[in-house]
Symmetry: C2
Subunit: 267 residues, 2 copies
């Protein structure tokens, strides 16, 4: 698998008075994705993708196409999984799959909140029993950055266009009710727009200096998808302003105040 489409040189280009409106289009009409399906090909068959478009894809269809699924009746729950499941009221086999896909547990009750190997922290390790046959679950990809790069390469191969890709998952958050879409993998763009050194309208240094642009785009894509995914597992963004920054989207353990507070609660 080549991962060769270069990241283009990014010129900062905020919207000006003459900028075209951004266009956001949900890609409807894709078939129910099966293991082995070529998602890039299916998307390119349904919609034109241009250079500089941002293609946002729900992690669900990546998991199904790549076979990142698990049958719960093939899982043997551990003592730990049985103990957690007794408290949460969930299927111990499901809990075992969550544990198997977690690298660090932040909470085990009233639900498992854990870090997965790519650094993302999510409820039940992002494992999804929706939109798949009864008795099976869909796992998050182990390396969502690589999945995004692969899709980006495959789109380039299919149609010659050099787009960016974001893979999204739906997550809860602190203080506010309701889930929102977050980015778990991306390619062709950087996660964080970095304003350090920029000034405000009055020439003062900005206080807020890092904006999680991939999450802002992922959230709006999730809105367009609809949470039942209503047959819209992918969304195209066109004419977005460009940005510069970095990919350091996850806090280090030491700097993450809320993670540290949860750790103290558990002990």
């Amino acid at each position: 698998m080549q991962l060769s489409v270069p990241v283009r040189h990014i010129k900062v280009d905020f919207m000006t008075e003459n900028a075209k409106p951004i266009q956001v289009t949900g890609i409807a009409g894709l078939p129910l994705i099966q293991e082995g399906d070529d998602i890039a090909r299916l998307i390119c068959d349904r919609i034109e993708i241009l250079d500089d478009d941002i293609l946002v894809i729900a992690t669900t269809i990546i998991g199904k196409a790549k076979g990142y699924t698990k049958r719960l009746d093939q899982v043997q729950p551990s003592v730990q999984a049985i103990r957690i499941a007794e408290k949460t009221g969930e299927n111990p086999c499901f809990i075992q799959v969550v544990l198997d896909n977690s690298v660090d547990l932040l909470l085990t009750y009233p639900f498992i909140l854990s870090e997965i190997s790519c650094g993302h922290i999510g409820v039940r390790a992002g494992i999804d029993a929706s939109n798949i046959e009864e008795g099976k679950v869909i796992l998050l990809p182990k390396d969502p950055m690589r999945e995004a790069a692969e899709i980006r390469d495959a789109i380039h191969t299919c149609c010659g266009s050099c787009c960016s890709v974001i893979i999204t998952d739906t997550c809860g958050r602190a203080f506010r009710r309701g889930q929102t879409g977050n980015a778990i993998g991306w390619s062709g763009i950087v996660a964080i727009r970095d304003f350090r050194g920029d000034t405000d309208l009055f020439g003062k240094r900005l206080e807020i200096t890092e904006e999680a642009v991939v999450d802002e785009i992922a959230g709006f894509a999730n809105f367009v998808m609809g949470e039942s995914h209503a047959g819209i597992p992918a969304v195209i963004f066109r004419n977005c302003p460009k940005w510069q920054g970095h990919d350091n989207l996850y806090f280090n353990k030491e700097e993450d105040l809320i993670r540290n507070a949860l750790g103290k609660k558990e002990n």
Copy 2:
């Protein structure tokens, strides 16, 4: 001030294959907002607003137009403010303004994290020293729902269109670096898309049932604005799918696991 534009009956209308692309347009070219300015009139003079558009406005310009600002040299810091400022290294007068605008403190170090009267939880009570003259700060509105309703009414008066309005602020979050735009007030739409009772593509009940749509829209608007606000303090969304749900965006204290964990950390 009339608050009379009715919320339209909302028909659930997810994007179909024939749906028009969503158009998102940053409103550039507004003057630097001064106290007393009529934001709705300034916006209507620059851009056409249609029925069912969603107009997203940065809280900064609401604060400036309404005079929700404070001169720090007119503030007398309390003993508590001085004590906190010694630890955080901030101006005690600034800390006093943060305390005056907080109804509950979740953290005081390394920064104040607090609840403000509308229920929003934010760093430094959302008080902003950027994009205003040196020595002054911009406060969040005390009643951002009312501000959103007033703007919505004023747009209707100016141009006859019945749009929805979201007022945004930029906030940090747990586990992930970088700020994103959040909704702090809205009118004409509900905050949360409620899927309870809906089924997935396989007819199973959905696990995830509440989506914080106003935050997903606010986040993408924040991306279009650019954090220095680059002269784009407002964004229009056109052709969005509609949704049904409720306005219960903030957790109750009891159900907020992370707030409770922070409380235990403090004690």
